[in-house]
């Protein structure tokens, strides 16, 4: 089933990479982009989004804060947070909002597995 994914990252380079990876794995999906958390919520009003791939280190809300708000607004959305900042506290924060953690630089196979997992209903994190 065709889905819509949103990429939220202040880096255009990163958005280009993520968009290309999504479309290589899911050529029939639609991809929208946002440069920060505020823009994410503006774009949500314009398109029905099923999957969000969110950078951690952004101006304004960080990726976990943006994901928590997104989760509250759309409990069933699939979220992955991408960052090179794999500190234990960051990764446990990512898990606590029920998001997948994918380290930057992104591994294409891992992105493929995450995208494939969105065909199933989302598994809840223990903390939810």
């Amino acid at each position: 089933m065709s889905k819509t994914a949103i990429i939220v990252d202040d880096s255009k380079l990163s958005r280009m990479h993520v968009r290309a990876m999504i479309l290589r794995h899911k050529p029939d999906w639609s991809v929208v982009e946002a440069a920060n958390g505020d823009e994410l919520f503006r774009k949500l009003d314009e398109a029905a989004v099923d999957v969000a791939i969110i950078d951690y280190n952004m101006p304004g809300d960080n990726g976990v804060e943006a994901a928590a708000k997104l989760r509250a607004a759309k409990p069933d959305i699939h979220i992955a947070i991408i960052t090179a900042n794999a500190q234990d506290a960051v990764v446990s924060g990512i898990r606590a909002v029920g998001a997948a953690f994918m380290p930057k630089p992104l591994d294409e196979e891992q992105v493929g597995r995450f995208l494939a997992s969105t065909a199933l209903p989302r598994r809840r994190a223990a903390s939810e």
């Binding site: 880096s11 380079l13 280009m16 290309a20 280190n57 090179a84 900042n85 794999a86 506290a89 930057k104």
Partner: protein, 244 residues
């Protein structure tokens, strides 16, 4: 740990790195310094792997090296190793220690690096218009890869700011970073007071592609006042790894 206390720099009180020995020894013991170098080695290993994956063809060239020194010695050393105009991507740090992390490399390597980091379907002429923002992302990934590993090994958090891209000589970029790190002009005595007290850790990272060699440095500048906190954290780390 690769060396026990006392084995690194000759007799206690002797010259250590680029700093007059006595002032240095008051701040960091040989064992603490060795622990910091070891952490830096592991962090830089992670950072060079990340950079290599982003730009595809680059591979790690050398075993990374670590030096701990005062700011003046760091500026001299960086100026000799990397003469000419440089790019510096910096992030301010807080948490386990306050300071600045900086990824520094020759400006002539910038566009080749950005071109190599573009997705395969993007024409190389896109590199020019995207240079600043791509450098920020490359630097962010390099610095965060290293810092996250170090934070996890130390068992403490390191907060990182958004990356800033700077251009100039090593001396100019370090001065910019230190100004940014000390809003309001620094501690008592102004910039001169701050300069007398802060510490620079240089991590060397060399990468080679088929067509070019990128000789870069990752620089960690610790703010005055941070050293006590870092020593405490290093002490606990040493205690854990030595089973003490």
């Amino acid at each position: 740990m690769t060396a026990a206390a006392g084995e690194l720099d000759g007799p206690p009180g002797g010259p250590a790195g680029g700093l007059a020995g006595e002032a240095w020894d008051r701040r960091l013991t040989d064992l603490e310094r060795d622990a910091l170098a070891e952490l830096g080695n592991m962090g830089i290993g992670r950072a060079s792997t990340a950079l290599g994956r982003m730009v595809g063809e680059l591979v790690r060239l050398s075993v990374p090296s670590v030096e701990v020194m005062d700011p003046d010695a760091a500026i001299r050393s960086l100026g000799e190793a990397l003469p000419g105009p440089l790019i510096g991507v910096s992030e301010s740090l807080g948490g386990v220690f306050d300071g600045t992390a900086l990824f520094l490399f020759p400006e002539t390597d910038s566009l080749p690096l950005v071109r190599a980091a573009l997705p395969p379907d993007v024409p190389p002429e896109e590199a020019g218009p995207m240079e600043e923002e791509a450098l920020a992302e490359l630097g962010n990934i390099v610095l965060n890869s290293a810092l996250a590993l170090v934070a996890n090994l130390l068992g403490g958090g390191i907060d990182t700011s958004l990356p800033a891209v700077r251009r100039g000589t090593a001396a100019a970029i370090l001065a910019d970073c230190r100004k940014a790190g000390f809003p309001g002009g620094g501690q008592a005595g102004g910039a001169a007071g701050a300069e007398a007290d802060d510490t620079v850790v240089l991590f060397r990272i060399d990468l080679r592609a088929t067509a070019q060699t990128l000789g870069g440095r990752v620089v960690l500048m610790l703010d005055p006042g941070s050293m006590g906190r870092l020593r405490g954290t290093l002490g606990r780390f040493i205690g854990r790894v030595s089973g003490g």
